[in-house]
């Protein structure tokens, strides 16, 4: 399955809904999307990963790159994910310490700290 990307604005947050597989093949598409958003002045991003079927370290790299970009503008990048198999890779790599991970988009949008 290919990667699908949809973005919408909720208050001062930009929600990116990602679906499908984020891997070495599709990660460049997500990277471009994140770069475009930050270039366009969206510094508070919420990436909704509930429809992601597969995520590998290339995908993690893109998310880390996105985090670096928003931080340069004192922004934030929050993830929404409750899928155990996706959370597992964040846990193995210690990236749960780097990304705030929320259960719902509402929770992520409302989060401030």
């Amino acid at each position: 399955m290919d990667l699908s990307l949809e973005t919408r604005t909720e208050g001062d947050r930009t929600v990116v809904v990602v679906g499908g597989e984020i891997d070495v093949y599709t990660a460049p598409k997500l990277r471009e999307q994140l770069i475009d958003l930050v270039s366009g002045g969206a510094y508070h991003l919420v990436v909704d990963m509930e429809k992601v079927d597969f995520l590998d370290s290339t995908g993690l790299g893109v998310l880390v790159g996105g985090l670096k970009r928003v931080r340069a503008h004192e922004g934030s990048l929050r993830l929404v994910c409750t899928q155990e198999r996706i959370l597992k890779i964040f846990r193995i790599t210690g990236l749960t310490k780097v990304f705030p991970i929320h259960n719902t988009v509402d929770e992520a949008v409302a989060a401030t700290d």
């Binding site: 597969f54 880390v64 790159g65 210690g94 780097v98």
Partner: protein, 139 residues
């Protein structure tokens, strides 16, 4: 012992093919569904690593994946054509992640494999690096 061998050109799209074959064969060998997910991710990481290596160093040749089942286990070996360039995985991924201010270090994919799979062996020779992963098959 039954084996399946796959040889593919080092392009990202082929990593997906390798993943599909890995999960199909894992399932056919009777692995639990949670292990099938693990096989899919680990084989994908090993293949993505090999593809990146080939592209980074402009290497000729293909990536080889050998699947075999014997002695109650399912073994997958991914071999690249790199000149013994085995990146050393970071010792502690959590520390790396903590200090992260840029891109993930090379070797991260291999570290994910090591974190996921209990039985992994990485060997390098002049003709390439082989990542061998083994999973137990229920009897």
């Amino acid at each position: 012992m039954a084996t399946v061998e796959l040889t593919f050109s080092p392009v990202p799209a082929n990593v997906r093919t390798a993943r599909l074959i890995a999960s199909t064969l894992g399932r056919r060998n009777g692995l639990d569904e949670s292990l099938v997910d693990e096989v899919k991710l680990a084989v994908g990481e090993a293949c993505a690593r090999a593809v990146s290596l080939h592209r980074r160093h402009d290497l000729a040749g293909d990536v080889r994946v050998c699947f075999s089942d014997d002695d109650g286990s399912f073994t997958v070996t991914v071999t690249d054509g790199g000149p013994g360039d085995a990146e050393v995985p970071p010792e502690d991924l959590a520390d790396v992640a903590e200090d992260l201010d840029g891109d993930l270090p090379s070797g991260f994919g291999l570290a994910v494999v090591a974190g996921l799979v209990d039985d992994v062996e990485v060997t390098s020779s002049g003709s390439g690096t082989a990542v061998r992963m083994r999973w137990p098959v229920k009897g």
